[in-house]
């Protein structure tokens, strides 16, 4: 019994992470029709900003040496600035081009950032220790929960609630939701295009920075491709949820995370290597039944 509960907590914690990444991807997709694959590299850059650029396997701390609050602030700020810079330099000039062109630009940004980290930090994975106290388990109702899982869930819920309030209660949030649904119509109604797009990227940066910290606390390693798999998973999450739908992205994130952990826990040992294949099969099945995703957004064609 406690075993099931612990597995479920694992599942929800991972789902929370994927939901956050999916939300970042969904927001940017909404306003730009761009699946930003560089989102994963925002996460990687955030993680590497904790250490001083060297080729050492156990590098000295940079932001990681700061007091907790300052460390979080610096990492999140770094990733947010990076997200805004990539928008400005790589995506804004291409805003009126084909979605395919934007997609290729996002791959270019992704490889550029990976290569940059490779040049500065070397290619070997690194060990890093932050938030060590969090890895110890907390005893709650007779169940041992790793502190980092609690933290992940707490942070995810806080960010989700903050983001929902921002999107529902602030003028720019309402404009952002309108633009995410129908960008052209929103512009006709006076929504400032540059500002909503910049805000969407800034949010994707804030989410990316936060996620990078949660990942590092969980895994204790840095790797130049550490952001790639979460981003691929989150991309599946947005597709399952109904691409363009923000609630859909969150729901999709939880589905993908939970299924992934359940497969990991309950597949026979020799089949666990196929966990990812299982998740991808699920994506295919869902899309066969509901090609439009779980939550459908409006995109009716008409004469203008």
């Amino acid at each position: 019994m406690t075993n099931i509960v612990q597995v479920l907590i694992d599942a929800v914690a991972l789902g929370s992470l994927y939901a956050l990444v999916a939300l970042a991807i969904g927001l940017v997709f909404g306003v730009m029709r761009l699946v930003n694959f560089a989102q994963g590299d925002y996460i990687t850059v955030g993680a590497y900003s904790l250490v001083i650029p060297t080729f050492a396997a156990t590098p000295a701390m940079m932001f990681g040496a700061l007091p907790t609050v300052a460390m979080i602030f610096c990492v999140v700020l770094t990733v947010t600035i990076l997200a805004l810079l990539t928008e400005r330099l790589a995506f804004r000039p291409l805003r009126n081009s084909d979605p395919t062109t934007l997609l290729i630009s996002s791959f270019a940004v992704s490889y550029f950032l990976q290569s940059l980290i490779l040049m500065l930090h070397g290619g070997r994975p690194k060990a890093i220790n932050i938030g060590e106290s969090l890895t110890t388990a907390v005893q709650l109702f007779g169940i041992r929960i790793p502190g980092v899982q609690l933290l992940t869930m707490g942070v995810a819920v806080t960010l989700l609630v903050t983001l929902v309030l921002f999107l529902k209660k602030t003028p720019i949030g309402i404009q952002l939701r309108a633009a995410a649904e129908n960008f052209q119509m929103a512009r006709l109604l006076g929504v400032p295009a540059n500002r909503v797009i910049a805000i969407a990227f800034a949010i994707s940066g804030i989410l990316g920075g936060t996620i990078s910290l949660l990942f590092v606390i969980q895994t204790g390693t840095l790797d130049i491709r550490m952001g790639v798999m979460p981003t691929v998973y989150a991309f599946f999450a947005t597709v399952i949820g109904g691409i363009g739908s923000l609630p859909g992205a969150v729901v999709g994130g939880y589905i993908v995370g939970i299924v992934s952990v359940l497969l990991q826990s309950y597949l026979p040992e020799e089949m666990r290597a196929f966990r990812d294949a299982g998740v991808f099969t699920l994506v295919i099945l869902i899309l066969l039944v509901r090609p439009q995703g779980l939550i459908v957004t409006s995109a009716a064609k008409e004469r203008v």
Binding site: I174, N182, L188, L189, V191, A300, E302
Partner: protein, 251 residues
């Protein structure tokens, strides 16, 4: 915040050519503040193209659009909206994930209002069109006729000098049409703007328009009061082909 009111929207000798097909061929018309101008014609007459030209979605070649004497032919659709040309679309195009109120708030924010001001304005307009309840309903669950009314309300929330309504009554039943007519008739009085109405429903057109402009095959066929247009033999012939006896009955 209120924008300066514009008095006159003019289209002069408008031509639009779609790869050899003349959608509009020398159409001239004027819309004045306080007016309700009906734009009618058979399918393919160029009505929607005309609205697209007036709202900046389609550039005329040649031809000019003037707003209070200023040439606005080169302005984008977004600039035209800011200059005071509001339009509704054949499909309502509401933001389905937003509430009814938020759909109007977006328009209010877009003309520089505060959230408070835009919200107050949104409630005022919704109540004015007779939509008293369900302001916080999400638009994805609205009945079709409500969608259409709210898209008109949203066009009004931009405080336009001219509201261009593209088939607002399509798909409405008789009762809903009557309510819509009442709303449209009162728009100029209440909001001080000029209205251009594209509509297939002759009852609506004849009931609310001060003047009617008839297009056929991209050309102007007639313009006048509903009474004049009703009796115009060219209109009867063109509008319903050779079956002019039936045409008379319909109009």
């Amino acid at each position: 915040m209120t924008k300066s009111r514009k008095e006159k929207l003019e289209a002069n000798d408008i031509h639009v050519d779609f790869g050899g097909i003349k959608a509009l061929n020398g159409v001239t018309l004027t819309l004045n503040a306080g007016d309700i101008l009906g734009l009618i014609g058979p399918n393919g007459a160029g009505k929607t193209t005309m609205v697209n030209v007036l709202s900046g979605f389609q550039k005329p070649s040649p031809g000019t659009v003037h707003l209070d004497g200023h040439d606005v032919s080169a302005l984008s659709a977004r600039k035209m909206a800011q200059a005071g040309i509001g339009r509704s679309f054949q499909a309502a195009r509401l933001f389905r994930g937003l509430t009814v109120l938020e759909n109007l708030v977006v328009a209010g924010l877009g003309i520089g209002m505060t959230r408070k001001g835009a919200t107050a304005q949104a409630r005022e307009i919704l109540n004015w069109i007779g939509y008293h309840h369900g302001h916080d309903r999400r638009c994805e669950s609205l009945p079709y006729s409500d969608e259409r009314r709210i898209s008109i309300a949203r066009a009004l929330a931009l405080q336009p000098s001219f509201a261009l309504l593209d088939e607002p009554a399509s798909g409405m039943n008789e009762h809903e049409c009557e309510r819509l007519m009442e709303t449209i008739v009162n728009i100029p009085k209440h909001y001080g703007c000029g209205v251009m109405l594209i509509e297939h429903n002759m009852q609506v057109i004849m009931g609310v328009c001060h003047r009617i402009h008839v297009l056929d095959g991209g050309r102007s066929l007639a313009e006048g009061t509903p009474e004049q247009v009703k009796k115009d033999p060219n209109v009867l012939r063109a509008y319903l082909g050779d079956r002019s006896s039936r045409a008379g009955a319909v109009i």
